[in-house]
Amino acid sequence: MSFSLIFKDELVGFYKSKAMIFLWIGLPLLAILVHVSSQTSDMSLSILVSLVVSSIGGLLASVMLTVNIINEKDTRVYDLFLIRPLKRWHILVSKFLAVYICVSIACILAISIGLLVDYSESQIAFEIIIKNIFEPFMMTLAVIAISSAVGVLIGVVAPSILVGVLLVIFGGQYISSIPSIIPFVFNIENPFTIVLILGIIITTLLMSLSILLFNKKEF
């Protein structure tokens, strides 16, 4: 009951926030800009957009979560939640899911524009385009999940917003790129499955560590 309540509230809070409105308009707009500037590229627009938004969407998700958690910690918002019969992990997981869902929707919107352009400009059947984009799209979601979990972890441990944002920009991005790099470093034939598995494992580990530290935290 308390988890669904907090999750619903966080989702409403994030999707109504100015940052999220900017994201929902900004990422699809980015897809159009990529299309305009990459007329000569051989790569399909949807795959190109997928690569761009996984990096930008992931960064934005982690920055949003870090800033939000540190800000609420600093202003002592959590005190009123933590003295009620509520599990501490509810707060972190609901924030993670709310941001992850909102950023993923923004990415889907951006990639959909790429798909529509690809479909209208090529003679390839829509089913084939969808098939081609499916794997990069799932990898995008995996990268965003890791980035969001990094954002939560940095939000829990960082002492200030400035330190948190710097850690996300200079450290978080490297962690998020681990699943995309590993298959190529070890020359794995089917990188898609590995990226997904690594994405789930790293996200779970980061979230577990965040919950462990948050549970021990004194307010």
Binding site: G13, V77, D79, L80, E218
Partner: protein
Amino acid sequence: MEKKIKCTKCGEITTVSGNPGETITVTCPSCHAIGKITFEKIQIYKSEEPIVQIKNISKKYKDILALNNVSFDLKKGEIFGYIGPNGAGKTTTIKILVGLLNKTSGQVFINGYEMPEQKSQAHKFIGYLPQQVAFQQWRTLNHALTTFAKLSGMQKNSIQPKINELLETMDLTKFKNKKINQLSGGTIQKVGIIQAILHNPYLLILDEPLNGLDPESRYQVKQIFKDLSKKGTTVFFSSHILSDVEDVATKICILDWGKILKIGTLDELKTEFVKEKQIEIILSKKTEKFKEINNLIGVQNILEKSDNKFLINIDKTSDSDEIIHNIIKTLLKNDCRIRSIAPTNPALDEIYQYYLRKGGDK
């Protein structure tokens, strides 16, 4: 149990009765609108035990001992004023009590449940207002209160009537749908008090609850404390405004450097403070024979505070009323005119300073 409800259509207020947990159908006597109401379930309260037991708790922040062997009990219906200078350890005690901080040693029980091990059970009994109350900025006042009411386990259909009732009491109805970031500091403090009392907790823990409130609101809040205490709620609050503590607290604890200097009722605190009983006299006309009161039994000496204002020290063992009676008789006999005469009553402020100095001397 009885409950006052307001008709959402015509505003008519009706009293209905039912059993805890029961849902009944109510018809408005004025407009005949039909609605349902559920009475809240009563939480198990182990009345034979003190609701709060703090046993020898200490808290260390690296090398600093913030709390040193603090122990006290709180019984049902007590209003406990926790006072002390900045850095005395008041907020640390409160945070340990609600489970936001871990103690270094000692034991804390709330309604028999040990903190922090059994905090999920103990939290059902607590209402808490932190020193720095904050809400998520994007929420409206009503949304924030509804969320906290739900998290505290209130019945869904009793939430809105209770919020409306408290908003009206605190004169905040006009801000109901305003966003938190549009409210003033004093209003947010009042909303903080509402979220603490919303679910009728058995134990109310408030850190500086009267900070930032105007005199009228302070009076309202103090009245709320008194009403809750009458209904059996234990109120634990810290404050710097000693006159407010004096107004409402049934038990007072003075804390300094993490140690309890004195604990007891205001009368008990005064007993040690008042070494000598004093009577203050203000005369409108004084004659030379005024000093004859020096010869009365029990009178030790007279201190002249101003031309017509005097302090008379009397034996601690003597009966003040008897001496006042004799003083009046003597003064009237000697053609003095009395404007006022009364035993002096030390304010909590003086007592507080006395115990702090005494504690500092040790």
